[in-house]
């Protein structure tokens, strides 16, 4: 079996219709270099580093060489940036200052990393006592007033830049500790770490191989910021006159310049400029790395491009369409929902559009349950969401139309779902049952509140009336003790119960259409059977139309009247449920049904056997 088998049989050859385009990704470094701010920051920092490293060669004078006869001189051929009050060359001191300032900032960051990173790794990975103790130490360190500690240390150990920066490194190490610990905690229980444990890897190898990689990027970003802060703090101390006067640093120069600010203002300008440039570049670099690590940024670019490509003609056409809603095709008004040649796509980095739904047409009548079946990535949820108008902002309708009850919600030629038109329908006439019941209830509010509020708003009834109706709904959906559930918070009920609550919510405003997106996939199989019973009963009683999105043919057989099979964004086959399940015409539907386990001889190959007998549907005798 080769990779091609994984994709052959069920996917069409590239170049045919269906989902087109690819997801375009680029590496972090490439993205960093595409960001102009990132390049500027890198260039500035590299230039500073070169100046610092080659200060001995570049500087025309020694840092403390004083020419008493030439103090506070204006720039000339010998002293390119002039001299200070002792006649020392500003340019030379700036270069040597860069050396000392940058190395001391690096020292500070190195000390902070040396303490914070291993402590954070150990605390995050093992938790327990070490974490408790280190949290105490961190809290103490963070509560110390930094500047006062630094002043005390200077008083005790003398005006050494190095000692001050080591102390500051210790003081700032909690920020690395916390960053590392939380990053490690988030991956500690990942399955790949468990797999490494099962493989017998020692803790040290697990930490270095599997855990360190998640910490790397945030540490780099943090270091850019910390180095900037260290430069600022160090210069601040020296500006106050607490530095080592025998060494040239930007802070000492700043202090010196400040004393002569009325005589030669440029003395203040140069060190300040160097500092602003360096700290600014560090901050920008941190931002650029963060942006490069996130995917979001480049999508904005694309959207603008896509708009330009569309051109003015399409824009004006869309504008015209917005003013007057076109009438739907005659003879189709009686359908509850009609989707015609729908296409949905996402613009990509290279300007192309990745189509996820292509040329899909179907309709749903009142009192009918339509199943949309397909595997992951077949576009079935995207189709359902475009009817609901809940597609992400970046999505584009690239073709076709959707009509609901005789009116367009997406008219032909429109590239977005019209939210004005849909918000009047959504919740009131079209409602939704989601896949994950728990994540669709707000944990901060009681279930009763979440049922009553939409009814008060949409139906315009009083709160008391809405409460009465909510109780009735809860007992309608088979909740034994509606009063208790009404007052409960979502975490206090089970998953099956939460799904019943959401179904109660979906029917609360007497909709005409319910869109259920994998409503039982997250539930246990016995609970699933109960929820399917509930949906069937309610649908018969209320006579609503239902669009049921699912990957489970058993669920389809249980509920649906008609079925649409989707694959790679295309509609493969459509028909009454018995026809599709018993005599599928398309090979894809046949292959899907053949991979069902129900009714198969145990311990036999499924796919190899399936290829020979795909035509025979699974109507073997019932196992019961």
């Amino acid at each position: 079996m080769t990779e091609s088998v994984e994709t052959s049989a069920l996917t069409p050859a590239p170049g045919t219709s269906g989902q087109t385009g690819t997801v375009v990704r680029s590496t972090v470094l490439k993205r960093l270099f595409k960001n102009p701010l990132g390049i500027v920051a890198i260039v500035i920092l590299l230039a500073m580093a070169v100046m610092a490293v080659f200060a001995d060669v570049l500087a025309p004078f020694d840092e403390n060489f004083a020419n008493i006869s030439k103090t506070l001189a204006a720039p000339d051929a010998v002293n390119v940036l002039g001299t200070d009050s002792s006649g020392r060359d500003v340019w030379s001191r700036l270069l040597f200052g860069a050396q000392l300032t940058l190395t001391s900032a690096l020292l500070c960051a190195a000390v902070a990393i040396a303490i914070g990173l291993p402590a954070g790794l150990v605390a995050g990975y093992y938790a327990g006592k070490f974490e408790a103790v280190s949290n105490w130490v961190v809290s103490i360190l963070m509560s110390l007033p930094g500047l006062i500690v630094l002043l005390t240390i200077r008083a005790a150990f003398g005006p050494s830049v190095w000692i001050a920066m080591i102390a500051f490194g210790v003081l700032i190490s909690p920020s690395y500790f916390r960053l590392t610990r939380s990053a490690v905690q988030s991956v500690r229980n990942e399955l790949y770490v468990d797999a490494a444990r099962v493989s017998g890897l020692s803790d040290l190898s697990i930490i270095t191989r599997h855990i360190f990689s998640v910490v790397r990027a945030p540490i780099i970003i943090q270091t850019a910021a910390i180095a900037g802060v260290a430069i600022a703090i160090q210069s601040g101390l020296e500006f106050l006159g607490l530095g080592d006067p025998a060494k040239a640093t930007w802070g000492v120069m700043l202090s010196e310049g400040f004393k002569n600010v009325y005589l030669t203002p440029t003395l203040l300008f140069w060190p300040a400029f160097a500092m602003a440039l360096t700290i600014g570049a560090l901050v920008l670099l941190g931002n650029a790395i963060r942006d490069a690590l996130e995917d979001g940024e480049k999508i904005k670019h694309r959207r603008q491009k896509a708009h330009q490509v569309e051109g003015a003609a399409a824009a004006s056409a869309a504008k015209a369409a917005r003013k007057t809603i076109a009438a739907v095709e005659a003879g189709t008004e009686h359908h509850l929902v009609k989707v015609t040649n729908l296409g949905v796509g996402y613009p990509q980095a290279d300007g192309s559009i990745k189509k996820v739904v292509d040329d899909v047409s179907f309709h749903v009548d009142r009192g009918e349950i339509l199943g949309i079946v397909g595997e992951s990535g077949s576009g079935k949820s995207q189709t359902a969401f475009s009817i609901l108008g809940l597609l992400p902002d970046t999505a584009r309708i690239v073709g076709g139309a959707i009509q609901f009850d005789g009116n367009y919600t997406v008219a032909p030629g429109e590239d977005k779902v019209n939210q004005d038109r849909l918000s009047k329908l959504r919740g009131k006439r079209i409602s939704y049952i989601p896949q994950e019941p728990m994540s669709n209830l707000d944990p901060a509010f009681t279930i009763g509140y979440q049922l009553v509020t939409p009814m008060v708003r949409i139906l315009g009834i009083t709160k008391a009336e809405a409460t009465r109706r909510a109780m009735k709904l809860l007992s309608d959906v088979g909740i034994v003790n509606p009063d208790r559930t009404f007052k409960a918070y979502p975490h206090e009920v089970s998953g099956g119960m939460a799904q019943r609550v959401l179904i109660a919510g979906a029917i609360s405003c007497e909709p005409d259409l319910i869109i259920a997106d994998e409503p039982t996939t997250a539930l246990d199989v016995t609970v699933q059977a109960d929820v399917l019973d509930l949906i069937r009963d309610l649908q018969r009683r209320l006579g609503v139309g239902v669009i049921l999105v699912t990957h489970n043919f058993g669920v389809v057989a249980d509920l649906c009247d008609r079925v649409v099979v989707m694959q790679n964004g295309r509609l493969v086959e459509e028909g009454p449920v018995r026809e599709i399940l018993r005599e599928p015409k398309e090979s894809y539907t046949q292959a899907l049904l053949a991979s069902m386990l129900e009714g198969k001889e145990p311990m036999t190959m499924l796919m190899s056997a399936a290829s020979s007998s795909t035509a025979s549907p699974t109507d073997k005798e019932n196992v019961l």
Binding site: M1, T2, E3, V5, E6, A9, E190, L191, Y192, D194, A195, A196, R197, V198, S199, G200, L201, S205, R209, H210, S213, V214, E375, G495, D524, V525, T526, Q528, A529, L532, N552, F553, G554, V555, V556, A557, D558, V577, R578, L581, R582, A591, L592, S595, M596, L597, E598, K600, P602, T604, M605, L606, M607, S608, A610, T618, D619, N622, V623, L624
Partner: protein
Amino acid sequence: MTVSAALGAEGSAPARKELLRVENLVVEYAGKGFRARKFRALTDINISIGQGETLGLVGESGSGKTTLGRSVLGLAPVSGGRITFEGQDISHATRKQRRVLSRDMQVVFQDPYTSLNPALEIGDILAESLGVQGMETTAAKKRVKELLDQVGLPSDAIHRLPREFSGGQRQRVAIARALALSPKLIVCDEPVSALDLSTQARVLDLFLQIQKDTGVSYLFVSHDLDVVRHISHRVAVMYRGEIVEQGPASVVTGNPEHPYTQRLLLASPVPDPDRQEKRRADRHRLFEEQRQQNEQAAAFA
């Protein structure tokens, strides 16, 4: 049904040499807060797996089936009872013993998206456990190629990252990782439940093929009775931390004794409207019967 009865019922099959035995296993987790009551995840579990045999473990969420698999692997604490592997007590194996054990016992997890380190190339992921056992780099490389071939992935996969593969292909990588040291037992924790229908069928085929070729045993955990029936020699049904029924796959999944297993069997829908309607009616009838039995039992008590 007791363990011995379950084993006895399998009389027709050739006697298998026992590989793993779990006796009276109890797993408890400390409760939250000071002197809180302990949470008992597993109560009095007895299972055994022979060489080349698959034991299917089926149950709903929270039934403890995953915890049982994890306790065999040493990832969950054993509070009581014994786990023996090839006659050796491994209930409280140290890290060092585990490293030796990892040659014989491996795992395939449910989620192929989080069970592979996103930052490592496939080749490195597969070579990891080989390196732990002290295999040389060149020999490891050769073995990795063999493994990729065995699970049906192209050999250029070595230098690709997990995100460049689909869910089914990633699960193949996870299976290859489990196979790397030619283990005797693989604990499979819901290995196909995150996969699409057709991918699931292919991965199940792969599991069967590997067992045929290498004679490996599986502890196969799943919530799907259809999957368990398809792949297992014997099936154990778990409910609220206990095993309620265990026996040959055809008996447990065809003609179950325990009321819970009966409910489980009838709850799973079949892909035909008319047969599903019949199953639905059967299920409602069973509910009614069990309710009446419960009422009678209550009346007697």
